[in-house]
Amino acid sequence: MQTVANIAVLVAIYALIGSGYVLIYRVSRVLNLAQGELMMLVAYLLFSLATLFGGHPASALAGAVLLSLLVGLVLYVVLMRRMTGELVIAAVLVTIALGILLRGLMVLVWTGQMARPLEKLGWQNSPLALGHGVALSSVAVTTIFVAIAIYVGLFVFFRYTAWGVRMRAVGENPLLAAQRGIKLHVAYAMAWALATFSGGCAGMLLALDSGLDGTMAIIGLKAFPVVLVGGLDSLRGAIVGALIVASAEVLAIQLIDPLVSDVVPFVVLIAMLAVRPWGLFGTEEDIQRV
């Protein structure tokens, strides 16, 4: 039972990080390899805000959420906007370079030491007994709920709101969408803002649960096989991918050898690339398009 709970937590983390990749890819066909650094940045922003407003945890959290949206927006407007129409691989490289830049800046601003935003917020990460001998930390439980909430929110947004539908249209056929009067740059900017927000949530929750240091960026990369297995342009795929990879990882730890857990996601990924390169829920023609 505990194993199931552990899988659920890891699925939530991977799905949240994965949503960041998917949102940007789906709308603008750019693979954002700075996702790990962005979630780390948002987590550090939370840490700084928590230090500033120690007494008002809610305002620190709200501030961090707002800042995450703003960071995504600014990044698009200042940087990624210039990459529209360039080679896809050039845009991807820009995100890699952005990751390097951000990491250097974060070391400069926050040093490389472990930061613990939870303490600054004045909260306790107390264990919750969930019955049947299952226990999880309260932040871990929160992570599951946040992941569900964000995914439900995203599904509703894309299905029922005007801008959600427009963003989908842009993702499917930017030319046609532009002819219909949809402002491409607005759609792309919103995708970046949303992706930074949902990835940033993963970063904040991870930091609240077990602290924050330079390795978080690499965790962002670890979630990368998840979205590839699920399909780069599908939110549903990200959930299924997270489920597959997280289960494989946790079961490998539990049943085989913990050492294998590190390679498992990539083995799953290679198997998927060999059989169905566009992922479980991805769209096939993407391969021709890029």
């Binding site: 693979l31 991807v92 370079a97 390097i100 250097g104 690339l273």
Partner: protein, 356 residues
């Protein structure tokens, strides 16, 4: 590409010369002289940097062939470098093999791995190909890591310097000439490849693979071929790196190394061998230049440690600036500067750059 008037070609063989005019002969001679004299007058540190540049040129040229000319994007470059270094390390440690065994062995292993890395290219393009090669990188890293741990070489394998006829290659100066020769040979190989049938076929595949196929080019075979050629070169570079550094450790071949090499071909300028050279030069010397700059500027000692974060961030920033503002890379800048001086004193917009 005759710069001076009064130079005429009288047969097709003349067109195949790499160095044509007197002006080109003079500049080539100056370059050879400068490269030859450099280690005699430079401090050890500078020779060390030059040596790293030479090895990087071999690796960057290999990646340039693959990505810049054949249009196949690979993020497995560090894995292939690791394969060469590891082959060298394993053969040296387990069998005491000499340089004359390890170098060809690395080439063979690289070639075989190239076949494996190339297979996905038959089905996948662009981003998906990049990701597959990335996944293969992790496989190589895992295998290497397990080997080192299981055999108890967890902190890396120390390798003795290569001995050529009883003469051990140890001094930076000696390495310099050897590595320079290898880098020049690699460049000549690539340039020759590109001006002949193979190179044209690669560029045709990059620009229009379906058309290339209907012109009688076996596209799949050429894709595999270029992966094998590029991987062999890369693996040889890995072998050289192992000997030059005197150690092999799988941790030295992280994803960042791949990024360094991708940066070399992008910053240098895709689709140009000169770009591979300039890119290698730029990426290798960049941290030293930044460090030198920071050292010249008055910086309080207390934040000395931050210097390295600045260096790191600056690398990211420069890469972004290149990608956004100079997609043609250093070669683009070089051509503009060259054309400016060629046409001086006449003001004219740059003419199409065919060379490189």
């Amino acid at each position: 590409m005759a710069y001076a008037s009064g130079y005429f070609k009288t047969d097709y063989a003349m067109e195949l010369r790499l160095i044509e005019t007197r002006w080109q002969k003079v500049s080539a001679a100056v370059l050879v002289l400068a490269l030859g004299v450099f280690p005699l007058i430079s401090p050890q540190v500078a020779i060390g940097i030059a040596n790293q540049v030479f090895i990087a040129i071999v690796g960057a040229a290999a990646l340039m062939l693959l990505t810049g000319y054949a249009g196949q994007i690979s993020l497995g470059h560090a894995g292939l470098l690791a394969a060469g270094a590891l082959t060298t390390g394993v053969l040296f440690k387990e069998l005491g093999a000499t340089f004359w065994v390890t170098l060809p062995a690395s080439a063979v292993v690289g070639g075989l791995l190239g076949l494996v890395f190339g297979l996905p290219s038959l089905r996948l393009k662009g981003l998906y190909l990049a990701i597959t090669t990335l996944a293969l990188h992790f496989v190589v890293a895992f295998v290497g890591g397990e080997y080192e741990t299981r055999r108890g070489f967890s902190t890396g394998i120390l390798i003795s310097p290569p001995a050529i006829g009883g003469f051990a290659l140890q001094e930076q100066q000696h390495w310099y000439y050897v590595l320079l020769a290898i880098a020049v040979a690699a460049m000549l190989f690539c340039i020759n490849l590109l001006r002949t049938r193979t190179g044209r076929a690669l560029m045709a595949i990059r620009d229009h693979d379906i058309v290339a196929e209907s012109l009688g080019i076996p596209v799949r075979r050429y894709k595999l071929l270029i992966f094998v050629v590029s991987s062999t070169m890369t693996s040889v570079a890995g072998c050289l790196l192992a000997y030059y550094r005197g150690f092999v450790s799988i941790e030295a071949f992280s994803l960042y190394l791949t990024i360094d090499y991708v940066a070399m071909v992008i910053i240098g300028g895709l689709g140009s061998m000169l770009g591979a050279v300039l890119g290698a030069l730029f990426v290798i010397t960049f941290p030293y230049v930044i460090e030198g700059l920071l050292r010249v500027l008055p910086i309080p000692a207390g934040i000395a440690n931050e210097m390295f974060a600045i260096n790191y961030a600056a690398f990211g920033l420069v890469m972004i600036l290149f990608l956004v503002f100079e997609p043609l890379g250093l070669v683009g800048i070089w051509r503009r500067v060259r054309n400016y001086f060629l046409l001086w004193p006449y003001r004219q917009t740059a003419v199409g750059g065919g060379g490189g």
